[in-house]
């Protein structure tokens, strides 16, 4: 990808948002607002940063991805489909009985490209530390990427994993925090403040970079930094907006898990076109 020109990626991001709206509307449920928050992050990973082969999803040399905030499954599914792991129309089976697209990712349903199950917050990062350790044991050079919610960082397990990854010098582990300052029932500062999140990760022994989470250039710089630096695990604090892309949803927690009405759906789809 040419640096500096992100038209193509921005177009992809708009398509992803459209898929997310359509698939969650069809399902009658699903976390589109949390998905919008991480669309650019997932697109930057799967279209730029990660070494993957969609036509050979289980390629042993691939980079791995764990969606800590499993409720953003619609965003992950949309990006996997756009990247060519499975046909785009299958997105519309989200949350249906028998679908490979479970409400939260379940690996044993066999969706191509899905490296790990998730949905119970806090567990994904530990799984990723295990995957990173396996690469170290094998002397392999593939890496592991994790997307965490900022609310998810309230789980104690996240910090157990943070300690372990630094202790084991997992420089093949890159964790991105979707730092949208909202959780399910309020702002993080109202519910349970994370304080100085950057300082916390640094104190745990991680190299920390900040990025604008809806800006491909900024994400690319942060990811390049993580690639270059050795000896410690990497954290990218990606500043995002929950619901980004559709003004009436942006930052409005009413929409954390509420299905959109037909009118709202039409309005949201229209807003995506206009903004694009």
């Amino acid at each position: 990808m040419e640096s500096g020109n992100y038209d193509n990626l921005n177009e992809i991001a708009t398509r992803l948002r459209r898929h997310i709206l359509e698939m969650t509307a069809r399902a009658g449920s699903g976390h589109y607002m949390s998905s919008f928050s991480c669309v650019e992050i997932l697109a930057a990973l799967y279209f730029q940063e990660m070494q993957v082969r969609p036509d050979d999803p289980a390629w042993p040399g691939r980079d791995r991805f764990v969606l800590g905030k499993g409720h953003a499954a619609p965003a992950l599914y949309a990006v996997l489909a756009e990247r060519g792991y499975f046909p785009v129309p299958e997105l519309m089976t989200l949350r249906q009985v028998g679908s490979r697209l479970q409400g939260h990712p379940v690996k044993s349903y066999g969706l191509p490209g899905l490296d790990a199950s998730s949905g119970s917050l806090g567990q994904g990062i530990s799984t990723a530390v295990g995957i990173a350790l396996a690469a170290q044991l094998d002397g392999a050079d593939w890496r592991v990427f994790v997307l965490l919610g900022d609310g998810e960082c309230q789980e104690g397990q996240v910090w157990e994993a943070a300690m372990a990854a630094a202790h084991f010098k997992c420089d093949n582990l890159v964790v991105i925090v979707d730092y949208n300052a909202l959780q399910s029932t309020g702002t993080l500062d109202e519910i349970m403040s994370l304080g100085d999140l950057r300082a916390k990760w640094e104190a745990f022994g991680w190299s920390v970079t900040e990025a604008r989470g809806h800006d491909f250039g900024s994400l690319q710089d942060a990811l390049a930094g993580a690639r270059a630096r050795k000896g410690m695990p990497h954290l990218i604090l990606a500043h995002t907006m929950k619901g980004h892309g559709v003004p009436f949803i942006e930052g409005n927690l009413e929409y954390h898990s509420k299905p959109l009405s037909a009118d709202e759906l039409a309005g949201a789809l229209h807003a995506l076109e206009v903004r694009h």
């Binding site: 009658g28 449920s29 009985v97």
Partner: protein
């Protein structure tokens, strides 16, 4: 008489019951882990913000903070989704709360298959089993809003840990507020029957009653009893039911391993053996789907229950 078509949420009854308790007892405190608008502890939080504690997404911390509050004379009610409270918090519940019989009331919602589309990670089908296996724990599953209120009052008065299981879905109104008294040792009979008794709990009562209606059309007289208290099980009450009707069927929105059926079987096989069938989710994980579709998929329908009952009655 009950009306299966008038339904409302037991978790809303829970939120309102908390407000009632909070108004008369300043020691009542309520804790949640970023799900208060779903568990309905938000109703208490609005009224008594100073006695509402949200610990964020941190279920282990949630349970042990509640233990500390109880050790200092407070009466905590703790809520989150069943899978996260009982699951993530199990060892906290066992080793800090139950071991010393600390007075923490654990009220978890969205149990069973009721989270439909969210799928397996969110569907608690093992919670009764894992709570029941802990010494000192009581396990109660209220069936309607009136019973929910009464059970919450009971838990507040009882000294020791209680697990109360609630669904996300609405429940039919089974009981009159004026006449209802909760007694853990006696189970409300919702329908009399001579050939078989269906023992059920929580939201499955509705399906048990519908099954009994179907069976009546086929000349089989099936009783339905609401086994709200799964632990301690009222063994005398279960045995006297087993002596009245020659067969027993249990029905629950839970794994067939370790839940209501297991509790009843443990009692009957030792104290009063009778032919019995256990209906529930057959040792599988849930999956995404509309809840009514999932009930079909996992054989939790009145038609399936009626079929099992017929086979059991005929076998005899």
């Amino acid at each position: 008489m009950y009306d299966l078509n008038v339904c409302s949420h037991n978790r809303e009854a829970y939120g309102r019951a908390l407000v009632e308790l909070g108004s008369t007892n300043p020691d009542v405190v309520v804790l949640d882990a970023d799900l208060s608008t779903s568990t309905k502890t938000s109703i208490f939080a609005e009224r008594f913000p100073e006695r509402f504690i949200d610990v964020g997404i941190a279920e282990q911390n949630l349970l042990d903070i509640a233990a500390g509050l109880a050790l200092s004379g407070k009466i905590p009610f703790v809520s989150t989704f069943s899978i996260f409270g009982c699951g993530r918090g199990w060892e906290q519940i066992r080793n800090t709360i139950a071991m010393d019989s600390i007075n923490v009331n654990i009220v978890c919602t969205h149990a069973g298959l009721s989270l439909g589309g969210d799928g397996a990670t969110h569907q608690a089908l093992e919670d009764i089993a894992i709570m029941r296996a802990i010494p000192n724990m009581q396990v109660i599953v209220p069936a309607d809003p009136v019973e929910t209120r009464a059970v919450v009052q009971y838990a507040a008065a009882y000294q020791g840990p209680v697990y109360i299981r609630l669904s996300r879905r609405r429940s039919p109104h089974l009981f009159d507020a004026a006449g209802y008294r909760f007694d853990p040792k006696s189970y409300p009979v919702l329908r009399e029957g001579d050939d078989v008794t269906i023992l059920s709990t929580g939201n499955m009562i509705r399906k048990a009653l519908k099954a009994a209606e179907c069976l009546a059309e086929d000349g089989i007289s099936a009783g339905v009893v609401n086994v709200h208290t799964i632990k301690p099980l009222a063994r005398d009450a279960i045995c006297s039911i087993a002596k009245k009707t020659p067969a027993i069927v249990t029905l629950e929105e839970h794994n067939v391993i370790g839940g209501l059926g297991s509790a009843v079987a443990e009692c009957l096989v030792q104290d009063c053996p009778v032919p019995m069938r256990i209906i529930g989710v057959e040792d599988r994980f849930g999956c995404s789907g509309r809840v009514d579709e999932l009930f079909e998929k996992f054989n939790l329908t009145p038609a399936h229950v009626a079929g099992v009952v017929k086979n059991l009655v005929r076998e005899r």
